[in-house]
């Protein structure tokens, strides 16, 4: 693991960037603070987790969704996937993300369209992710 990335400031910046990329909106401060603690508690001493050059991803504001998807298929136990999963858990415990995780009305058509769109989108992200990993040497 790259220990230098665990400074509070770096982790907060990382959380903000990842959150914007995944949820498309500014991150509440509580999630940022919890993200820093969770990273320190869970990832700092984790073994068997492949490192990823987070500083490079942040510096170049790379497409995290694409890189993560491609990485997950090549190296399932990688730190970027873990970090995004942590962020999702933190978001899920707050009520302002309720609608992101839970469907409250019967919407079969919307669901069908959203899932179809996301299937094609995921394929595109997968290809893009493989290209980015090859071009920038993120692992």
């Amino acid at each position: 693991m790259q220990k230098e990335i665990f400074s509070g400031q770096e982790l907060s910046r990382e959380a903000e960037f990842l959150h914007q990329e995944i949820f498309g909106r500014p991150m509440p401060a509580e999630i940022g603070a919890a993200y820093v603690s969770a990273n320190r508690m869970l990832l700092q001493d984790a073994t068997n987790v492949a490192p990823v050059r987070m500083e490079l991803i942040l510096e170049r504001a790379m497409d995290v969704e694409a890189i993560e998807f491609a990485l997950r298929r090549r190296i399932p136990q990688n730190v970027l996937t873990k970090k995004l999963l942590i962020l999702c858990y933190l978001a899920e415990s707050r009520n302002d993300y309720f609608a992101t995780f839970v469907n409250e009305q019967d919407r079969p058509l919307r669901a069908f369209l959203a899932l179809s769109l996301n299937t094609f989108r995921s394929l595109y992200k997968l290809l893009k992710g493989h290209c980015l990993i090859r071009m920038y040497d993120v692992v």
Binding site: E30, A38, A66, R94, N103, E104, S122
Partner: protein, 527 residues
């Protein structure tokens, strides 16, 4: 201070023995970790709570991010990783570590043991399942009946009655969720076709109150089983313990880890380490009842003989998970009122198999959506959309396989006095494929590549180390009455004495058998 009987452990086996011996001078020795206080009242259903509470992280994730256990550590079932349920497995590695590369089991030192986080399925063993036992179903029936009225079991008479036995004393069945109701409806219409494949489906028997029983209220369908400990309607052994503790003739001492015993002509001396002071204390009784759970009980017995060479046979229900999707429920709204545990039971039984294979069918709506994120095939944003719309259409079939003694699967003490377990992983897939093809008739779809086969030990159903025999041959076998061969005062009442492990959840039978043995012991003690 001397007692008539010392019972080690307060899980289902321990409290059932204590229940039968409740008029005796009893000491229950236990480590006895308890559930923490609730940080919120948790009086709404899971989804209303999530919607109305700004920050539910202490309940859902934990102050130390306990719910995120599976992000980096060895897999823990959602129920055991819930922050308020972590007491169930608290400190087990420090108290009794297991050296094994292939066995992923765990132990509980909580008051009530693993029943604090069980699936609450309660099933009677049939004579077919008891064929390797020195007892018959009718030996257990009176105790099954008593326990049914004592703990409260809901269920009904349906296609699974031939497998699950008497419906006497059952409370009304649980309300099913939308998906399971639909599956059952389709099954009723295609019953002949499905049963030709050896598959039978019905409502579960669960230790869950659909009507109030004593001070325990009926279940509220809040779906909080993965996050809230001690839901009164869902039975666990600590409720019985709490009742027993009220009696003046019963002493409950927590904070003690029993290490060994020594038999004397008058009874048994028990040595237990006080985990707070680290001082070993002595207790004495006429009889000792070991109910610490299969693995811990075995450790106590092996330690008492200072034996680090004997390999005791270990049984474990191998498990598999088969996810199914019901396309017609994709995009359905999230139900608010539901039970997060088993919705349907499934039995596979054909002439060519020795014992039936049982499964539990449930939806994943009671767990965190983030638990499912990496199980879906899209990018992370795609998966966020998928968990939102697909979760109400998902069902998981968890299959349990029976187990019989095998020389490759054993438990022993190593030279440092720690447990060592070896267990060969079994080959699976055939039955899962059969379910996948048959369930298409119920409009449930899956792929065999999506099935998961956890490592041995993940069922948390262990047994068989000190088997009951009609004529025990060595000191690690027990008599029909649970007495360890060669001893006069030491009885085994937990699943360590099962010579075979059927696919059914064995807790109810552990309880009934423990009561049966305690009943004999009571007679032996006299008035």
């Amino acid at each position: 201070m001397s007692f008539e009987v010392i019972i080690v452990g307060s899980g289902p086996a321990g409290v059932s023995a204590a229940l039968e011996l409740r008029d005796r001078n009893l000491l229950i020795l236990d480590v006895g970790f308890r559930a923490p206080a609730l940080p919120h009242e948790l009086k709404q259903n899971l989804y209303d709570l999530k919607k109305s509470t700004e920050d539910l992280s202490t309940v859902l994730l934990g102050e130390n991010f306990e719910s995120l256990n599976n992000v980096v550590s060895t897999f823990l079932t959602p129920k055991l990783k819930g922050p308020l349920l972590r007491f169930v497995t608290r400190d087990w590695r420090q108290l009794s570590s297991i050296d094994s590369s292939e066995f992923e089991g765990l132990l509980s030192f909580a008051a009530g043991g693993l029943s604090n986080a069980w699936g609450s399925g309660v099933y009677r063993f049939s004579d077919r399942e008891l064929k390797n036992f020195p007892i018959k179903a009718f030996d257990l029936d009176p105790f099954y009946d008593r326990l049914t009225s004592e703990i409260g079991i809901s269920g009904c008479d349906d296609d699974l009655t031939p497998f699950f036995g008497s419906t006497q004393g059952l409370l009304p069945q649980i309300e099913l969720d939308r998906l399971s109701s639909e599956v059952l409806k389709r099954y009723s219409k295609r019953k002949r076709l499905i049963s030709q494949e050896g598959i039978y489906i019905g409502k579960p028997r669960v230790a869950l109150l659909t009507k109030a029983l004593g001070e325990r209220q009926a279940y509220d369908y809040h779906g909080l089983e993965f996050f809230k400990p001690n839901i009164p309607a869902v039975y666990n052994a600590s409720y019985t313990l709490r009742e027993l503790e009220k009696q003046s003739n019963i002493t409950y001492r927590s904070g003690f880890l029993v290490q060994r015993y020594e038999e004397t002509s008058e009874g048994v001396r028990v040595l237990a380490r006080n985990i707070n002071t680290n001082i070993t204390e002595e207790f004495f009784a006429r009889k000792l009842v070991l109910a610490a759970g299969t693995i811990s009980t075995s450790k106590i017995v092996l330690s008492s003989y200072d034996d680090n060479s004997t390999r005791l046979p270990l049984l474990d229900n191998a498990i598999s998970f088969v996810p199914f999707i019901a396309p017609r429920f994709i995009g359905s709204s999230q139900e608010r009122r539901f039970f997060a545990g088993v919705q349907l039971n499934v039995v596979y039984d054909k002439d060519e198999i020795d014992a039936p294979i049982q499964g539990s069918f449930y939806g994943p709506t009671g767990i965190l959506r983030s638990d499912l994120l990496l199980d879906l095939p899209l990018s992370i944003k795609g998966n966020l959309t998928a968990v939102k719309y697909v979760t109400p259409a998902l069902g998981i079939l968890q299959l349990f396989y029976p187990d019989a003694p095998n020389a490759n699967n054993y438990l022993k003490l190593n030279s440092h006095g720690a447990l060592e377990i070896r267990y060969q992983k079994k080959a699976f897939g055939r039955i899962e494929k059969h379910f996948i093809s048959t369930f298409r008739k119920l409009a449930l779809f899956s792929l065999s590549s999506l099935c998961k086969y956890p490592a041995p030990g993940n069922s948390y159903h262990y047994a068989g180390t000190l088997p009951m025999k009609t004529q025990p041959q060595n000191r690690y076998e027990t008599s029909v009455n649970g007495l360890l061969f060669g001893l006069k005062h030491v009885f085994v009442v937990d699943a360590a004495n099962f010579p075979f492990l059927p696919s059914k959840n064995h807790t109810f039978t552990i309880m009934a058998n423990s009561m049966r043995i305690a009943h004999q012991l009571k007679r032996e003690l006299g008035s």
